[in-house]
Amino acid sequence: MNNLSKNIIRFFVFVVLQTLIFNQLEIGYGFHLMIHPLFIMLLPFELGVISLMGLAFLMGIVIDIFSNTYGLHASSLVMMAYFRPIVFKFYGPREGYDPLKEPNVFDMGNRWFTFVFGILLLTHHFWFFLIESFELNQLFFVLQKTLFSTVPSFLICLLLQSFLIKKSKTK
């Protein structure tokens, strides 16, 4: 299976998982599980920022249509896609990334994935809840929601990778 068809299938899998399962799990207390940022994270290293942002916008709008949020997911996913190359560059190895590898937890290691995906997920969630509440005097509540949602989302994203990704045989 080549890269393109793999990512197209992933796109639909993530949309279905997010809209039909994780959007319906409403725990309350500011817990809000979002796993669709993982799709943007797992796109190949060599993809340019502009196509990254285009894909992020497309995916965000599709999820928005299903959850009546009108551009909220699109905005926060584009935000995350914009920061992805910057964070990758900051934490990248000196000789650049191996184009045969994929930015997932098995290829790149726990430490790298925790830092990079943690920062990106935090950015995404913070922007999402900030735009959602649209009031600065609720900043504390926004921060609480961000923290409460990022940690479980991150753990579920870790779990999901073992279902969705075949481990590379080089290890």
């Binding site: 817990f31 942002m53 249509i65 299903f66 959850s67 009546n68 949020t69 551009g71 959602e132 509540f141």
Partner: protein, 283 residues
């Protein structure tokens, strides 16, 4: 000119980023208050179809609770039937009723998709223009008020629930008929608050809160909840009245849409009120 192109090329990435952000935020702000089309909401045909399939599975989760509620509503309605009452004075003359004229009719519907934990929560119903639903109609369930229709397509509609930022439903606190505006602060799906009640008035705890029926969206007296707490707002002569909703929106399934048969008459009459001069100056 060359400088401009060089500038554009240099900041190409940031400009595209800004463009996409502006597009999504403009859609967000516009649709929040005034949806132009049904295509970006769950009222559109494709999304509503998918959500209906999903609801076919998940609707059974709360089935016993819903059956219980419906059964009790049936009992209440049956008690009002003349066959179930003991006739006290037999043989009276039948009178043609000219005192009452029907003002509200109701359209039953089922919630196929809902959220309760976001800042603005919308419910999608399986009824649309074919059943006579129009935007700005009220929606309630057997236990309490639910929201106002936001957006309609042929077979589906999206309801802006009482769990949104600017829902602003006219409500009254029952025994003393204090009127205020219902708001939601985004924290707890079981509690809302009422704005605009002056703090020299005494409000009893657990007094009933019902709709006022002023704007013609809801009939008078549909339950909203009960007063749970009264807090003073710092620096303002107002109470912050916390209301506990009588409906649990997390398990809501069966709702009714209110159709006001006289709404056009009311709007026509109210449209004749001359606008304030001060507002005209501001415009």
């Amino acid at each position: 000119m060359r400088n401009l192109i060089a500038f554009l090329r240099r900041f190409q990435i940031f400009l595209i980023f800004a463009l996409l952000q502006v597009i999504s935020l403009v859609i967000y702000v516009q649709f929040l208050s005034f949806p132009r089309s049904q295509y970006l909401t769950t009222a559109s045909n494709v999304t509503a179809k998918v959500l209906t399939w999903e609801n076919d599975v998940t609707k059974h989760f709360d089935l016993s609770k819903n059956n219980y509620a419906l059964q009790h509503e049936n009992i209440r309605l049956r008690e009002r039937l003349p066959e179930f009452m003991y006739t006290l004075s037999a043989g009276k003359v039948k009178v043609e009723d000219t005192v009452f004229q029907q003002q509200y009719t109701y359209i039953p519907g089922t919630v196929i998709n809902s959220t309760v934990t976001r800042r603005n929560n919308y419910f999608t119903l399986n009824i649309g223009t074919k059943q006579g639903v129009q935007p700005n109609m009220g929606v309630f369930s057997d236990k309490g008020v639910v929201g106002i229709v936001h957006n309609v397509s042929e077979h589906y509609c999206v309801v802006k629930s009482v769990l949104t930022k600017d829902i602003n439903i006219d409500v009254v606190i029952e025994p003393i008929h204090l009127s205020g505006i219902l708001k939601w602060d985004g924290h707890d799906p079981r509690r809302g608050s009422i704005d605009g009640i002056s703090n020299d008035l005494r409000i009893k705890k657990w007094s009933r809160v019902v709709t006022r029926g002023g704007s013609g969206i809801f009939p008078k007296g549909i339950p909203v909840g009960k007063v749970e707490r009264i807090e003073s707002i710092e620096g303002e002569p107002l109470w912050n009245v916390v209301v506990r909703y009588s409906e649990d929106y997390r398990t809501l399934q069966r709702v009714y849409v209110v159709k006001n048969l006289m709404i056009e008459e009311q709007h026509e009459l109210e449209g004749q009120i001359p606008p304030d001069e001060e507002e005209d100056l501001l415009r």
